[in-house]
């Protein structure tokens, strides 16, 4: 639609208004791909899935409107609750650990030390690879019964358990995988640390503030916007993790649903059972939940994030 309006670029417009009008038209021409994408790939599908969430639909027959039945069904669905529990545990444990490691290493690496670039690269590498199927395959092997972890434990005389077969420990292996990818928030922290004016530390040192006090009263407050940014990003990312859980559990989310990530459950319902109405309902619950979490994060940020005055 925007293309046609651009073709009708009006040369008879008064000169002053013309610049603005021209920009208005040009902007819409430039943004045509995005606007089409927004409508066709994002907005309409969102509306469609909202409608589907209130239907019974298996792709073969046409959707049948069933009111809020899908949402009622959620309440009694044990696997839904299992996936919620697994995902929340995963996010609440792995994200703080991951950010903690990222911050700790960023602090150790700061201050123009020798070999900084090398260390940064080495720690960053796992973030690039961490979401691949190949690394999930590796993880399956590392924590398998005859895997690397148990081999290492055997060297010191401890008999390891079967980490992936044990519902108590299976999720832990995925948490470790996420913590392992602390490199990308670490790089962001490093960039943030470099933004803190050096004079602040100098004057604190002149005043005799200890390293710990400097950390608590300069580094942390100055870094809070970056911490906040990383927290939002990693939380949203963790809620949507899929590959690890799918590959490590062979697509089942087992043992006993102990690695059933929420997204894996959506996938199973939508694309294995082809229960697409129910899967849409699940997806919308995830969307609303992420939106709520993000809103809460932003609301709370007023109390602890310091933006420069």
């Amino acid at each position: 639609m925007t293309v046609t309006t651009a073709a009708a670029d009006a040369p008879e417009a008064p000169p002053r208004a013309r610049g603005r009008r021209r920009q208005e038209l040009a902007a819409h021409v430039f943004m045509t791909p995005w606007l089409v994408g927004l409508l066709a790939v994002t907005a309409l599908p969102m509306l469609a899935s909202l409608y589907l969430a209130f239907t019974d639909y298996n792709i073969l027959s046409s959707p049948e409107f069933i009111g809020a039945d899908n949402f009622v069904r959620l309440v009694d669905d044990d696997r839904f609750w299992a996936s919620v529990r697994v995902t929340l545990t995963y996010v609440l444990v792995s994200v703080p650990l991951q950010l903690g490691f990222a911050l700790l290493l960023a602090l150790l690496l700061d201050k123009g030390m020798r070999g900084l670039a090398i260390y940064r690269s080495a720690y960053y590498l796992p973030s690039l690879l961490g979401t691949s199927v190949a690394v999930a395959v590796l993880w399956r092997q590392i924590f398998g019964h005859d895997g690397l972890v148990n081999q290492a434990l055997a060297l010191v005389g401890i008999e390891g358990s079967s980490w992936l077969q044990n519902p108590q420990t299976a999720l832990g292996t995925l948490v470790v995988l996420n913590v392992w990818t602390f490199g990308s928030p670490m790089v962001i922290f490093l960039a943030g640390l470099r933004q803190i004016p050096h004079e602040l530390y100098e004057s604190a040192r002149v005043d005799g503030a200890s390293v710990l006090r400097q950390f608590a009263h300069i580094t942390v407050p100055m870094l809070t916007p970056i911490i906040f940014f990383n927290l939002i990003l990693q939380t949203i990312g963790a809620f949507q993790s899929f590959t690890q859980s799918h590959v490590v559990s062979g697509g089942t989310g087992g043992p006993v649903d102990s690695t059933l990530f929420y997204t894996l459950y959506v996938y199973q319902q939508g694309f294995v059972s082809f229960d697409m109405g129910y899967a849409s309902a699940l997806a919308w619950v995830l969307l609303v939940f992420i939106a709520l979490i993000t809103a809460v994060h932003f609301a709370l940020s007023r109390y602890w994030v310091h933006y420069g005055d």
Partner: protein
């Protein structure tokens, strides 16, 4: 390049032999010692972190029975059997999957460069009424989980008979759905001095010429970063490819690898690891040769 990295990695270790003994002041000596302790700790921790990757690489060259019994990095026996067997262990030889992944990745790069740069230029430089609203939508859509749109998208693509083609994976990229890159490019264009494109504008070049001849060449670093991250994300993407690709002739690397996992027993672990290593090589290449852009990219926008 990799030699350079190796040299510099070894640097701290070599230093005690060559560096002169530190001056005898106690404070200085202690500082030197803590610096050494820190390096030591960082190196040990780094090795610990990278050990799984090193182990996977070495294991790919070990006979399968040794993979499961020998955790060391120095294999007693080397073999290429894992690669030979792995390459043909799926329904198609692996080059088919590499080729498919490459087609999807390169098309996605072209799509993202095209659509995101146009959108970003408009948002960063042109004045129009809906600009703030559009930019807000871009920011929000960065956070939107794809799972809420994937089901209706799938339904549409399957009705158009486009399942088991690459269209569902590529088309959205030409429609600027990777909002993160729009954000990255907007930030970058804003850092370009406005005088440059205003001069072109005053010389009578319209928005299109200004974009093409002035802004686009200047935003090369952002374009390179976008291209690299698009490649890595597409290469690693599993969810989308798993849903749309169900016939082995159109399998991409992650989907093929996943199908191997399901079909292999423990005795096939060697070739599974060998194929895993191969699939990581393109990403490692970018890691080695395009570091600068990767680090810049995440430092400025928080890409993964």
């Amino acid at each position: 390049m990799s030699e350079q990295i190796l040299d510099r990695t070894l640097e701290p270790v070599q230093r005690p032999a060559t560096a002169p003994p530190p001056p005898a002041t106690v404070g200085r000596r202690r500082r030197v010692r803590t610096a050494w302790l820190r390096h030591l700790g960082l190196i040990v921790f780094g090795l610990f972190m990278l050990y799984p990757l090193l182990w996977m690489t070495v294991s790919a060259f070990k006979p399968s029975n040794l993979v499961l019994s020998d955790p060391s990095l120095i294999p007693s026996e080397l073999t290429l059997d894992n690669f030979r067997q792995g390459w043909t262990s799926a329904n198609q030889p692996f080059w088919v999957f590499f080729g498919n992944s490459l087609v999807v990745a390169v098309s996605s790069i072209v799509g993202n460069l095209f659509s995101c740069s146009l959108t970003a230029y408009a948002l960063a430089r042109l004045e129009f009424r809906a600009r703030k609203l559009y930019f807000a939508i871009v920011l929000v859509s960065v956070m939107l989980p794809m799972h809420v749109v994937v089901i209706p998208q799938y339904i549409v693509f399957s009705q158009l008979d486009l399942v088991n083609t690459f269209v569902p994976l590529i088309l959205p990229k030409f429609l600027a759905t990777d909002a993160f890159f729009i954000f990255l490019m907007v930030q970058f264009i804003r850092s370009i001095p406005r005088d440059l494109d205003q001069a072109a504008w005053l010389d009578g070049a319209g928005p299109f010429k200004t974009f093409w001849y002035v802004v686009l060449p200047l935003m090369r670093p952002a374009l390179v970063t976008t291209a690299i991250f698009t490649f890595i994300w597409t290469w690693n993407d599993f969810f989308g490819q798993l849903i749309y690709l169900t016939e082995s002739s159109v399998f991409t690397v992650p989907v093929a690898l996943n199908s191997l996992v399901d079909s292999q027993s423990q005795s096939g672990i060697g070739m599974l690891l060998a194929m895993s290593v191969l699939t990581l090589l393109p990403i490692l290449a970018f890691f080695v040769f395009a570091q600068k852009y990767l680090i810049q990219g995440i430092s400025t926008t928080g890409l993964k």
